[in-house]
Amino acid sequence: MTQPGTTGLIFNEPELWDKSREGRCGISMPRSDVPRTDLDPALTGDAPELPQLSELDVVRHFVRLSQWNFSIDAGMYPLGSCTMKYNPKTNEVQAARKGFAAAHPLAGDEFSQGALKLMYELEQLLGEITGFPAVTLQPAAGAHGELTGMLMIHAWHAKQGKQRSKILIPDTAHGTNPASATLCGYQSVNIKSGPDGILEPATVAEAMDEDTAGIMITNPNTLGLFEENIKEVCDIVHAKGGLVYGDGANMNAVMGIIKPGELGIDVLHLNLHKTFSTPHGGGGPGSGPVAVVEELIPFLPVPRVEKENDAYSFITDCPDTIGRMHTFYGHFSVMVKAFAYILSMGGDGLTRASQLAVLNANYIKESLKTTLDLPYDRPCMHECVFTDKTVQEYHISTMDMAKRLLDYGFHPPTVYFPLVVDAAFMVEPTETESKDDIDQFIEAVKAIVKEAASDPDKLKSAPYLPKVTRLDEVTAARKPCLKG
C-alpha cells in the first residue's frame, strides 16, 4: 500500500524582519479627505518597528510558512480527545456572509435579529443534542466553558448558604479540569478509576462528602470507555448535596445514543471545534457552550438571548448570574459554522456520525491490538489507547513511533495522555476518515513496529521527511527566545 508521506520541493523562508526594506508597505492607504490634526507630541511615540514589506513579500512569506504545516485538509489527524474531523467548507461560506461578519456587537437588538435568532436556535439545537433545557454560547473555548460551569457550581453552593472546599476529579481527566476547579478555589481530590478503566461507585462514595462540591466527569472518558456506572455515580454525588460536571469534549461518540442531561449530569460543556466540525485554527479560536439543568439556569452568564413574540433580545437582568465571561457574546462566527454543520447533518446524520466514529475506533483497536499493547481490552467508544510495551525491548518509545508516523504522512496520535496509562498512544480517527485511509494508517503503524525490531536507530532519529528534524525543546525552555 502506498503511504501518503513523500518528499517534494518546499521553500526556505527567513523571519519577516530579514526581508524588511525601508520604505516598503503592503497595504493600500485610503486617501485622506479630512484635514491632518496632530496629537500633542508629548503623547505620541515613534512608529512601532514593524517589518516593511510589499504585498507579494507578505503573500510569499505566509504561503511558504503554511507549506510547513500538517493539516486535516492534507491528511489524517488521529489525535485522541481532539476530534479532528473534516471542517466543511460551506461552514466558512456561511460565517463570511456580510450580514454576519460585518455585524457590530452593539448595533442594537432590532438591527441584529438574524444573529440573535441564530444564537437562540443554536442553543435549542445543542440543548436537544445534550438533553438540557438551557445553553449558553458565551464561553470562548472548552476550558473557558469548564470555568463557566465550575463558576456556576460555585455560585449554586454559595446560594445554598454553604460553600464547599473540594471537588472530585478522576485520574482520566483532562488537565484543564483541575486547573478550572482551582480557579474557583476548589481543591482537587484525585480519584482512581477501577481495573476496567472506569469509575466505580464505591470509590466515589468513599470520597464524596458534604464538604465536596461535586465531581468532574468526562464521559466517554479519556481511555475511550463509556462510564457505565454514570447514573449511580451521579446519584451518590447528589445524595451528598453535590453537583455533577460533565466534560463533553468526547460528545462525538454518543450523539443520538445518550443525552447527558438524562443521566444525572448537571452542567456540561461542549467543544464546537471538536464535535461540531469548526476548524481548530492551529490552536483556536474555539467555542465552549455550556448546557445546564433547570436548577442552574439562574446562574448562567449574561447576556442571555431571549425570544418573545418572534422577536429576540439580549437580557442582563439575572440577579443570580455568575456574571460575564466574554466582552461580547462569545465566538459568534464559530457559532455560525457549528449551526451550519448541525443543519447540514440533521438528527440522523449526527447519530450516524457517532456510530461511524465508534466503528472506526473499534476497527483500529481490533486491527492493532496484537501489534501494540492495549491495556484496556474492552469495546471502546470514539478512541482507543495503546502503549509502547511491545516495542520497549528495542528501547523504542511512544514518542519514537509518533515521530516516525510523520514520515508515513500521518499526524501522530495523542501521546503520553491520559496519564493513567504509561506512555499512552491514543488514537481517535473520527467518522470522516474512510476505511481506506484508516487501513493505510494501520499498515503504517504495523510497518513502524516492524522497524522497531529491525532498525530501532532509524526510529530514534525520525522524522526524516519534514522541513525540520527533532527540535531541541530543552534549550528552548532553558534559554527562552520568545521574540526576534
Binding site: N69, A141, G347, A353
Partner: protein, 445 residues
Amino acid sequence: MRYLPHTRQDIDQMLAVTGHADLNQLFETIPDSAKTKTGLNLPDALSEWDLNAEMEELASQNAACRSYTCLMGAGSYDHHIPAIVPHLISRSEFMTAYTPYQPEVSQGTLQGIYEFQTMITALLGMDIATASHYDGGTALAECALIALRKSKKANKIAVSSLIHPAHRQIMQTYLDPSGYEIVDIPADRNGLTDVAAFKAMEGMAGVAVQSPNFLGNIEDLGSFRACADEKKCLLISSFTEALAHGLLKRPGSFGVDLVAGEGQSLGMAKSFGGPGLGLLAGTKKMMRNLPGRFVGKTTDSNGQRGYVLTLATREQHIRREKAASNICSNNGLNAMTAAVYMAAAGKNGIREIARLNHDKAVYLKNMLVDAGFESVYDSAFFNEFVVKAPAGFADKRRELAEKHNLFAGVPLESYYPDMADHYLFCATETVSRQAMDLLAKEVKS
C-alpha cells in the same frame, strides 16, 4: 451525507473485524437504561443549496448585510481588511491544523506565531508577549489574577472605572470565587482616571488602567507608574483599540508590568463581537507568571533554525491544578491574522492608518459640536470621544440607522447611569467625510 465516507460494504467489513452484528451493537457497553429513548429531534438535514438560502435569510435580518456607516467602537472597530489577510488565513494549512504540539510538521504555525509575538512586543514596547488569549477582557482578568497571586499580602486590586465596562465585569466574574476584591478608581472631570483617588488607596496588589480609556481619552500612564512604585504594586494597562499604538507612546515606555488588550482591529472582522484576539504582554520578569502558550526559537538536530511551544511547565496539561491558568485553546488563527495584517501594514502603514483614524475622529467631533452636540471633555483622544447629544437625538439616531444605515455612536447611559444623552462616537479610516457631513446635516435639520 457527503462528510461520511463509509459505503455499506466498508461498514460490513469493519463490523466483521470488530465482531459486531450492526452499528447499534457497538454501544453494547452503554447500559440500556442510559440510552436515550427519544433520539434526536432536530430539523431534517439541509442540502448545501438549501443551507445557503436559509443562512442568507438569517444574515439578511442583520443591518450589516448592507453597507453601513459605522460610527461605533466601544471594543469592536470598523477597519479596512486587506484582501490578502482573509486569503492567507483561509489557507487550509493554517485553518485546519491542530495546536502545534508536533513541531516538525507545524513550523508554519510556529514561525507565524513567533513573528506575531515579536510584532506585538514592538507594538506595545514590552519584553514578551504570549501566543494570544480569548479577548481583551479575559486577558485583563488574567492579569488581575497574576497581580493578586504575586502579592503576598494584598487581596485587593484597584481598577479604573473607565476600563471597558464588560472587561470590568469579566474581572469581577473571575475574581469573585477567590474572595479577591476590586476597588473602583473614579473618573475625574476630564474623563480620566483619578490618580489622586488611587494615591489614597492602601493595600493594593496592583492597579489597572485602560488607555485610551472607555471614553476614548488618553490616560497619563506615567503618573500611575510613579504612584504604583510608591505603593510597590504592579501596574497593568489595557486597551481595546490596538491601532492606537501606531501613534501613541507605547505602554512599555511608561514601565508598565503587564499589558492586556483587544487585537480585533488588526485585520479581524467584527463578527458580532467575536472571535477577536486577546493580547497579553509583560516585562521579562513576568515570563513565568503569564498564562497560555509561548513559541520559542530553537534548533533541530541538524542545527537548522526551528520553533517550538515552550515553557509549558506553567500550563494546565503539565501542572494541572497548579497551573498559572486553565487556558488551553487560545485564538491562534486570529493571532496569525494579526501577524499578516501587521506585516502588510508595516512600520509606516500602521502609523499612517493610526493618523487617519485620529484625523477622522477630530473632524467628526468638530462637525458634531458644530451641529449642536456638546463636547464633554477636553482631554486628548485617539479615534473615540464622548459628546452630549441635543434633545431628540435618540429618535434621530434610530432614523439614521433605518434610513441611511448609519450607526451614530454608542449610548453611554446603560454603562454609566449619570450619562444620559451621552454618546461614545468612533471614526476610523473607513468613514468618509461625506458620511460625517451627512450626519451633521441630519442632526441640524
